[in-house]
Amino acid sequence: MRTLARRLLGSQEAGLVLVVAVVTVTLTLLAGSHVDRRTGELINNFWNSNTLIQTATDASFFAIMAIGATVVIIAGGIDLSVGSIYALAGVAMALLVRAAGPMDPVTTVLLGLGISAGVGLLCGLLNGALVVGLGVHPFIVTLGTMWMLRGIAFVVSRAESILVPQPLTAVAKAPLGLGGGLYPVPMLVMLAVTMVGVLYLTRTVMGRHVFAFGGSLEASRFAGLPLNRIQIGVFVVSGLTAGLAAFLGASFYGSASSGDAQGYELYVIAAAVVGGASLSGGKGSALGATLGALLIVLIRQSIRTLHLDQNYEWIVIGCAIIVAVVVDQWSTRAAARRFSRTAALSKSAA
């Protein structure tokens, strides 16, 4: 138990966990409370199941994408097209499932999931293939596909909002026994994807290849790694998470349009970076990405809960991103110093 605690405290994400906890506690203390009209109980304005799950739900859609984006960023790239992939995957899912006509609910859900994930995967494949095939920097390629893919979504949807069949919404909004207008599914999917992301990055061959690729392309070449496969792979992962987020988002809100997730790419990258991913590659974590997304949403939520002027939201978020990254750099440096001390100790002991 003690070693577990020490591992948590020593881990890369420890600082971020602390910040999230501090913001949560502060918000709870400052939020004030109201009396529930039905039960007569005193309820904290922030620390109540409704607000908490709502906050987690808000975070979940782009936290899922931020995990994919983190994989790309660890590999030294960037994916600006995730918002557009989300829109295209959502629109394609809604259109195709509707076109397929009424089916039993299970088939509908599987078909919807297959379509949105498939579209996301294909878009990621396109990004990866363009980066590898043309030898153009991911920033440029995904800047291009960002507009292309949203344009395709715009054309195929004829700029209309398309309703998503009911069975899909039923899944995304399944109460899972909670009731009372609480919808925990997006939050649970976010947690599941985070776990898969953590395992993928730290325990699989592909994940470790991604770190090496982003840490040094040249050294990875000399170590015989399949460079093109890694490069394409990270964009596929990113596309896939965008497709999954689209399935969840479109189902949850009941409709899909080409304007969905506009500007999400920046939230997603912000979450990844706040979560400790380094844009120069070789560093980042899936848990960090989720915590980063949570932190951004918490800050947004705090403006609402504390009845601050909503017009300041962007300014606050912008500052928070810079502060978070600077704090992360400090703690990394502090960790390096800690390490150097133990290194010096072990040296003198030897």
Partner: protein
């Protein structure tokens, strides 16, 4: 006695990962040439950089001619008369020589740069040290030797009376190095105090009056070079006497032929190279830098495009299209640029060791981490890697330990053909001996080794026979019994050994532009 030009008093400096200097006190006589020597990581460069204002000491005091000084940066140091010449590019590579020389004080009229004045000043500064360079060329296009001339001109032109040379010949050819020595002697005659950071014996003994030895960040001794022997100095540097040995792998006959190269060519890089390599054999590959040694290694590792000719591994013809393919065939390459090509510096020693064999360590895609750690621990121990643990960031380890990890990687991958490209470059004396012993041991156990090195003594000591490349062509094969430095050098340069020696003595620094031929002699000054 006169006030010393420089006096360090109780200097300490800590970097993340290491205590670089610990309570160093020493004095440097005015007008002398004073060597700072020691193994890599001994702190000699750090001491030089503290004097030049690049690092600030954590503790201790620095005196120039008896007056205490504190430098906030290299500019303060230069203002106080201390300049520094670095191993590699220290200025902006993308702007012209003239601009670099006037950087910080660009002459201007009403806010517009007076270009003609910039060039005039730059030419004057270069003339001051007897160098003649095209001041309009971007600095990055010059050879490293020429860039050093620019650094020296900047230091002298900036009024430096003390100049720190930080291993200035590590990237120079013999001829270029000789010119630099001549220039340093001239500077000394003009009363400039030279501090020469190096671990090369001939330089220390040929150039310097006094030598201070650092070991593990501590000042061990300061001695006049006259009356000191090389063996004594090496003993001071490594703290124990150095043993010579005869490679054990030569006791057994070489085994089966594992690699055969026939008429291998790569346009513009090398032409018609043929040789064979047997199990249990160490074959040296010598040549000047640019002769195509590394390119042959790269071709064998699937890193060159457009390779023609035949390669046979275990008697079977193969086309090696990628490093992956090469690794599958049992080939391992320790590349020449450890930091860029050999290691992923953001990762741990463990991860760097297992990188090429993750698939083998995994079940499906899932890495069996216990197995990975066991394997790495085994090779860390066998190669005596000194690290605080398997998870220590590779960037925190010394050059020698980093190189051992690159080697460990190929041992773990069970490579049967090892290509070592400058395996001991930037490795300290102790680790170097360990790596030599390891190469010998591997060969004795049946690994075939192709050894590329610019240090002829290293090649001669380890190899059973030596192939010599000149301008991309194989020009000779010298058996161990006949291998001498002179003979190899003559083959490498394509002239009589006598002529090589004569030419090295001729050009005094900067009388003329260094020839456009960027090839540098592999025999780096001073490793002999």
């Amino acid at each position: 006695m006169a006030e010393p030009a420089v006096r360090f008093e109780g200097i300490s400096k800590r970097f993340p990962g290491a205590l670089a200097l610990s309570d160093v006190s020493l004095a440097i006589e005015a007008g002398s040439c004073h060597a700072l020597c020691g193994e890599n990581g001994a702190g000699k460069s750090t001491l030089g950089k503290i004097l030049a204002g690049i690092h600030a000491p954590d503790a201790g005091r620095l005196f120039l001619r008896g007056r205490e000084v504190r430098f906030a940066g290299p500019r303060d140091a230069l203002a106080a008369g201390v300049g520094m010449v670095h191993q590699e590019l220290a200025f902006c590579g993308n702007i012209s020589v003239a601009e670099n020389l006037c950087l910080g004080a660009l002459p201007a009229r009403a806010g517009w740069v007076a270009w003609r004045e910039v060039e005039r000043r730059a030419i004057a500064m270069l003339e001051e040290i007897g160098a003649d360079l095209d001041v309009r060329r971007p600095l990055g296009e010059l050879t490293i030797a020429q860039q050093q001339l620019v650094q020296i001109a900047a230091a002298v032109g900036g009024g430096a009376r003390i100049i720190v040379f930080d291993e200035p010949t590590s990237s120079l050819s013999q001829v270029e190095a000789e010119r630099l020595y001549e220039l340093i002697r001239r500077l000394k005659r003009r009363g400039v105090t030279c501090i020469y950071v190096s671990h090369r014996m001939p330089e220390i003994f040929g150039l310097c009056d006094t030598v201070s030895v650092l070991r593990d960040g501590r000042h061990v001794a300061t001695r006049p070079t006259a009356g000191l022997s090389e063996a004594e100095l090496v003993g001071l540097m490594i703290g124990r006497p150095l043993a010579e040995y005869f490679p054990r792998h030569l006791e057994a006959a070489a085994g089966e032929e594992v690699l055969r190269v026939e008429h291998l060519s790569c346009p513009g890089k090398f032409e018609d190279v043929s040789f064979s390599l047997r199990a249990g054999e160490v074959v040296g590959l010598a040549g000047l830098v640019g002769a195509g040694r590394s390119e042959v290694a790269r071709a064998l590792f699937g890193l060159e495009r457009g390779v023609r000719g035949r390669i046979l591994v275990d008697g079977r013809p193969v086309r090696i299209a990628s490093p992956r393919h090469a690794i599958r065939l049992g080939i391992g390459l320790v590349p020449e640029d450890r930091k860029r090509q050999g290691l992923v510096l953001t990762e741990s020693g463990l991860h760097n060791t297992s990188l090429p064999i993750l698939r083998r360590l995994a079940r499906l895609a899932w890495i069996r981490r216990a197995r990975e750690r066991r394997l790495a621990a085994e090779y860390f121990q066998r190669l005596r890697v000194r690290a605080p643990g398997l998870d220590a960031p590779i960037a925190s380890l010394s050059g020698g330990n980093q190189q051992k990890i690159v080697l460990a990687r190929w041992l773990a991958a069970r490579s049967r053909i090892l290509i070592l490209d400058e395996p001991t470059r930037g490795v300290d004396v102790g680790a170097k001996a360990e790596i030599h012993a390891l190469v010998d041991q591997l060969a004795a156990q049946g690994t075939a080794v192709l050894l590329i090195s610019s240090e002829l003594p290293e090649i001669i000591a380890l190899s059973g026979r030596i192939l010599v490349l000149r301008a991309g062509r194989l020009v000779g094969e010298v058996p161990r019994a006949l291998a001498t430095q002179d003979r190899l050098l003559a083959l490498m340069a394509g002239v009589d050994a006598a002529v090589v020696a004569a030419e090295a003595g001729v050009g005094s620094a900067g009388d003329r532009d260094v020839p456009g031929d960027r090839r540098r002699t592999g025999n780096r000054a001073g490793d002999g």
